[in-house]
């Protein structure tokens, strides 16, 4: 038995029992798809198809369809790539780092967050591939394979190649982690299945999990090892993404704070995306006893912390640019604030630095509406952050005669919409066919409390608590 302090809020409310957990979560998978889900899926598929038309057109005609020009050779493509990779970071953070830190509140949200990670990484990987112009050759040109066209090798000095390794490793480990975590829950669904097809499919997916002590032992050991592996991985991925820019000599890109600040920004946007998705899932599947206000508040706190780290990094960069007395650096940052892209810079500052500060107010961070709105605002801000870093640094390069302005075309916009459509479609499929909450892990934390703890917990309704543990209003401070 583990003691839990009275000052802690409960992680699962509503007096749930083990069988309640199984029923509540499996029901989402077993029930026929409801209308709202079908409507959402239709909308996502339409988005995907509309974006797909432009993506296909772009691939057919070449990336000249995008608004890139000879000065700004990288714009929405790399912005979208970094944005999606960043979003992917929350899943691994929740499942690996919070596991190592023994944060039990992670159990209700880790499943969906990990799924989101995988889909976000897929959406991210899309960009380097499609921007190659001829992706069918590009895919294997990116790999360090000796080829038959001459002794051409990839450039091992390039951080872009390191990205190939980092992201493919990250994707593999994240998939593995997610799938291993799903096995016990698949077994539960398999055992409950009453029709042959689900029994067959979930039976295969559960890899013969039998729930014996030995099986659980293996499961626990693998989870810990993967958590240990994922932790440096999650840091390395966005670090290497930041190297894509920071190893250069372009003012606004080359700055030493980039690696940790990109990682913080990635977690920031990832948590915001988890919140956006989880709030919708929680509402649709009526999971408010599993994803409680405590969970939402914790995530909001992480958003505040990472948002503030990002804010400090912006100010540090700005200050050091002035302090360095390097005219290029100084110009670059002044140009960001007051140049042609001032609107992007100030959108970024408002969304990323100012908006998460609102969460210092308890009323705001425990308000579902505000949380939902701010979680979207944060992701808008993080998209602008990458856009600001990339485009404002490029459009004023060392050669003033080449200075240009970048304007996106419909293909830029619709290709981005395509990736959003892809992400939402994948997530909706996941939310229907896979258990959205990790039943096995939630069950493991359900009893990590003792009766005296129940006493202090006002969030549990009295009628769910045994007679002797019920509390009067005034007993609670």
């Amino acid at each position: 038995m583990q003691l839990v302090s009275k000052v802690r809020e409960p992680l699962i409310t509503g007096g749930k029992t083990y069988s309640d957990i199984t029923n509540d979560i499996c029901k989402c998978v077993e029930d026929a798809p409801n209308k709202r889900w079908l409507a959402a899926l239709t909308a996502s598929v339409i988005t995907l198809a509309a974006g797909g038309y432009y993506m296909g057109d772009m691939l057919w005609n070449g990336i000249g369809k995008w608004g890139l020009n000879k000065t700004v050779q990288w714009a929405w493509d790399i912005t979208n790539f970094v944005w999606w990779v960043g979003i992917g970071h929350a899943g691994t953070l929740i499942s690996a780092i919070l596991l190592l830190f023994r944060q039990k509140w992670r159990t209700s949200i880790n499943r969906a967050a990990e799924a989101m990670t995988i889909f976000a990484v897929i959406c991210a990987a899309l960009w380097p591939v499609v921007h190659m112009g001829r992706p069918w050759v590009g895919i294997y040109w990116a790999l360090p394979l000796p080829n038959t066209f001459g002794s051409l090798w990839v450039n091992f000095n390039s951080p872009l190649l390191w990205d190939v390794f980092a992201i493919s490793t990250y994707f593999s480990v994240s998939c593995l982690f997610w799938f291993i975590g799903l096995i016990p829950d698949f077994a539960t669904i398999r055992d409950r299945a009453i029709t042959p097809i689900p029994r067959l499919i979930y039976g295969m997916l559960s890899l013969g999990f039998d729930g014996s002590a030995k099986t659980w032992m293996h499961y626990e050991a693998v989870s810990l090892i993967l958590a240990g592996l994922s932790t440096p991985l999650v840091l390395s991925v966005h670090t290497i993404v930041s190297f894509d820019f920071a190893t250069s000599v372009i003012p606004g890109w080359h700055t030493t704070i980039f690696p940790p600040y990109f990682v913080a920004g990635a977690i920031f946007s990832g948590f915001a995306m988890v919140l956006t998705l989880m709030l919708v899932t929680r509402h649709t599947y009526k999971l408010k006893d599993y994803i409680t206000m405590e969970h939402i508040e914790m995530m909001n706190l992480i958003i505040t912390v990472t948002g503030s780290i990002v804010g400090i990094a912006y100010i540090t960069e700005f200050f050091i640019a002035w302090y360095s007395n390097v005219p290029y650096e100084q110009y670059c940052f002044i140009n960001r604030m007051g140049g042609q892209y001032w609107w992007a810079y100030w959108s970024m500052m408002a969304c990323n630095v100012i908006s998460p500060q609102l969460f210092y107010i308890k009323k705001i961070r425990t308000s579902i509406t505000m949380t939902f709105v701010l979680s979207i605002v944060v992701n808008i801000g993080m998209w602008f952050e990458r856009f600001v870093i990339i485009v404002t640094s490029l459009h004023r390069d060392y050669l003033p005669s080449s200075w240009l302005y970048f304007t996106p075309t419909i293909h830029d916009i619709m290709c981005y919409v395509f990736s959003i459509g892809l992400f939402l479609t994948l997530f909706l499929m996941f939310a229907k066919f896979f258990p959205v909450v990790n039943m096995a892990e939630v069950k493991a934390i359900l009893k990590s409390s003792n009766p005296s703890v129940y006493k202090g917990r006002m969030t549990i309704k009295n009628e769910h608590v045994p007679e002797k543990d019920r509390v009067l209003e005034k007993e609670y401070i």
Partner: protein, 468 residues
């Protein structure tokens, strides 16, 4: 009971294990003797080192003239400050005297920065425990905050050494750098440095002192509030008012610390190499401070346990502390490596000069690599396994190495910029560091006596006592 390894009592099932929650630390004569031994050896080494340095011992002064020959120097073309120029010219008569004084100042500054950081981490780590609602650490929270007892002394030392020695430590404090013309108003001043002149809005003595005083003032305020709120909690059984108040204050402190620690790092360390800049530097210094602080907390807790206090501390607590030392050693390496790689890769002379100054001098280059070994390789391999984090003996070895390693890290941040070729790592350096350590331990142990060791009304205390 002394150093017997805590065998796994089954704390959770057998409720007959009771800890003395009112225990108080006594700074016994035995412990005092140990502290005075450190202090005594330190003084002896320091005095010998100082005398050796004063009688012109050491070959290092001879090379001062060569400093002019460095192609790129960190403070522009004329980085050798007048004191050193004099030494080059005077050659003999009094160069030793000024040499040793400068060396003393640089070392005082180094230890000031190092121990200020450690004391600060005591407050910061305390605040983190509250903000993160950590349960495991509730029982050792008083040990953590006790590091802050040394902060007032550091405030005095920082101010004192800066006022006394700013010209020897900080190139930017020389007023001639900012004069475009000589006294006649026509002849261009050869010493004029347009780059440093551009920084004078930030790097000027009044503003520097203002920042230093405000930071210390606010840090000391928080340290006082944390200690006194925690003390008041002991008298109020069953109320969580103090706890909640501490959480709120901790959040404020962390926000302030995030800003002030970075600015202090720019002020106290980065501005020594006045021309050079790195946006990562604030976090780099923080990372170094943080690992040292946690390693020191771990050492204190192990020793207290060996002396018969804090008997509730079991392998699980040590494991958690070990994880912090392990994890943040990797974090430090990550920050160190990112900063190094990006500067190395872009190869911009204004930036590489920092590493050039360290790697091109024989007395620093080996230490540069030793730094990585002590602060990364050693803790990484030493604390890799689960078992090693749970053994007091291994933790003691690794934490000692980590503390020494990070002192060396600060040595490498501060000495090459202040002493250039004249930098040395001898008895004076070792002796002075031991004096600071002895003083630090003396003050911390005195402070530990003032409150019961265990915050008996901490609402998370039960979690900590039954941590596994």
């Amino acid at each position: 009971m002394a150093s017997t390894q805590h065998e796994h009592h089954d704390l959770h099932d057998t409720h007959d294990v009771h800890y003395n929650l009112d225990e108080r630390f006594e700074f016994s004569s035995k412990i005092k003797k140990d502290v005075f031994t450190i202090l005594g050896i330190g003084i002896v080494l320091f005095v010998i080192g100082l005398i050796l340095s004063m009688i012109g011992g050491g070959h290092h002064h001879a090379s001062i003239e060569n400093a002019d020959n460095l192609v790129v120097s960190i403070n522009g073309g004329h980085e050798v400050n007048p004191v050193q120029n004099e030494q080059g010219a005077g050659h003999g008569s009094h160069h030793g005297a000024i040499g040793w004084l400068q060396r003393l100042y640089a070392n005082l500054w180094l230890n000031n920065v190092f121990f200020t950081g450690i004391s600060l981490i005591g407050i910061f780590f305390f605040a983190i425990q509250y903000v993160a609602s950590a349960g495991w650490s509730a029982g050792i929270i008083r040990v953590i905050i006790s590091l802050s007892r040394f902060l007032p002394y550091m405030a005095v030392m920082m101010l004192g050494v800066f006022l006394l020695a700013h010209h020897d430590l900080f190139h930017w404090t020389h007023h001639y750098l900012y004069e475009k013309f000589l006294a006649d108003g026509v002849t261009p001043n050869p010493e004029y440095d347009p780059i440093i002149n551009g920084k004078k809005g930030f790097l000027n003595i009044p503003f520097f002192l203002f920042r230093m005083i405000v930071f210390f003032g606010i840090w000391l305020f928080f340290a006082y509030v944390f200690r006194s709120e925690s003390a008041k909690e002991d008298l109020e059984n069953g109320s969580t008012v103090r706890y909640r108040r501490l959480v709120r204050f901790s959040a404020f402190f962390i926000v302030f610390f995030a800003i002030s620690s970075a600015i202090s790092a720019w002020d106290w360390v980065m501005s020594i190499d006045t021309h050079w800049y790195s946006t990562m530097f604030g976090w780099y210094v923080f990372a170094s401070w943080f690992v040292t602080g946690v390693a020191l907390i771990t050492m204190l807790i192990i020793h207290l346990k060996e002396w018969g206090y804090l008997q509730f501390v079991n392998e699980a607590h040590l494991h958690d502390l070990g994880k912090f030392v392990f994890g943040f050693s990797i974090f430090w390496t990550y920050i160190w490596f990112s900063q190094f790689l990006l500067i190395y890769y872009a190869n911009i002379p204004e930036e590489t000069v920092y590493f050039f100054e360290r790697l091109s001098r024989d007395q620093y280059a080996p230490l540069f690599f030793l730094n990585i070994f002590l602060n990364f390789v050693f803790p990484f391999l030493g604390l890799m396994t689960r078992d090693s984090k749970r053994k007091m003996r291994i933790l003691k070895i690794v934490c000692t190495i980590v503390i020494i390693g990070h002192w060396l890290d600060f040595y490498l941040m501060i000495t090459p910029g202040t002493l250039k070729d004249a930098g040395n790592l001898g008895l004076l350096e070792i002796g002075l560091a031991m004096i600071y350590l002895g003083a630090f331990l003396y003050v911390v142990f005195q402070g530990l006596q003032k409150l019961p060791l265990i915050p008996k009304n901490h609402p998370m205390l039960e979690e900590s006592l039954h941590h596994h």
